[in-house]
Symmetry: C2
Subunit: 194 residues, 2 copies
């Protein structure tokens, strides 16, 4: 079966179609709570519309709160184990500013909001992205309680990022964020990182 | 300037054009050394052709040595901080077999060869990809010696993957792999994860 498929030279990492009509890129996201609520809403829409797992993320300009890019889990939809919410948001933000670093000269500082504490892959990606702040909603144990593995993330991992100048805030609107994880578990949603 | 660019809904993760003519997908890669030599050659071609940093990777079927997908660093070329060699190879392999898991039912076991020990992001991605074996060429300190940061990877990180059934072999053809890092440094190549 698999032999039918030739080697590939391109992968498209896309957002689902509903995003264009559901996200207001011109709104002001003035506070941490407003920014986190967007990340959580993306997670919730994603599971209710059947386009992925219970995780949402968004990149903002720190000072203005201008929304730069959004992401939501697309592992199953895209057949791509790297298509976590944070990965999509960071890649789309970098493409939008046309730089591999969100800390590039001539750009304002950026921050990443994630509806859940990032897995090992995404925490590494945060470091390479150039964001200067990471804000998380649900905690690692909230994801694990509904059987998602978070991978090799340790207290030292967070310390490593902080030592490189990245501010990290945890458990912002944790209860609201956790509710999406629980809703997904109650739906019987697929746990692709079991 | 940046305000000219509308929000994006898609990112294309592509291989450079030279790959099609330089990689033989029908060859047999019978041994660990043959498989690692391909990963190292991809790294070397990448820097000599000016399409990225000194890192290459490839996914093989473990038993047959059939080549499934290749990747090479494309951070600067693609303006994408997640475009590490391992990430490209894993995503292309998953798309080729049309599954988010290389351990999916009906498929043979897969393994990832990387010309250098993976950074924190890529090590997390290895865990989610479903490969059952990781083989590395150059060591973390070889990358750090030419000023690449590898991120929060600890002995416990490797133990975490091994506990989940992933075999890991390190320093396979290390000297050949390190030579590409040194060649890149001698060229004055850009260190995007400095």
């Amino acid at each position: 079966m698999r032999w039918d498929r030739p080697p590939l030279h391109e992968v498209a990492v896309t957002l689902p179609g509903w995003v264009a009509g559901a996200v207001d890129f011109d709104a002001t996201y003035a506070t941490d709570e407003a920014r986190m609520r967007l990340a959580i809403r993306l997670a919730r829409e994603n599971i209710r519309r059947g386009t992925g797992g219970p995780f949402g993320a968004a990149v903002f300009e720190r000072g203005t709160g201008r929304l730069v890019a959004v992401g939501m889990n697309g592992v199953v939809r895209l057949n791509n184990s790297t298509a976590h919410a944070e990965m999509l948001a960071l890649q789309l933000a970098e493409r939008r500013i046309a730089s591999y670093s969100l800390a590039a000269d001539g750009h304002p500082a950026h921050e990443l909001f994630s509806s859940c504490a990032p897995c090992a892959m995404c925490l590494g990606a945060v470091l390479w992205s150039g964001v200067t702040r990471l804000v998380c909603g649900a905690a690692r144990e909230d994801a694990e309680r509904v059987r998602f593995d978070e991978g090799p993330v340790f207290a030292e991992s967070y310390a490593y990022l902080r030592a490189r100048g990245i501010e990290i805030a945890e458990r912002v609107l944790r209860d609201e964020a956790r509710a999406v994880l629980d809703e997904y578990a109650a739906m019987g949603g697929e746990v692709y990182n079991g």
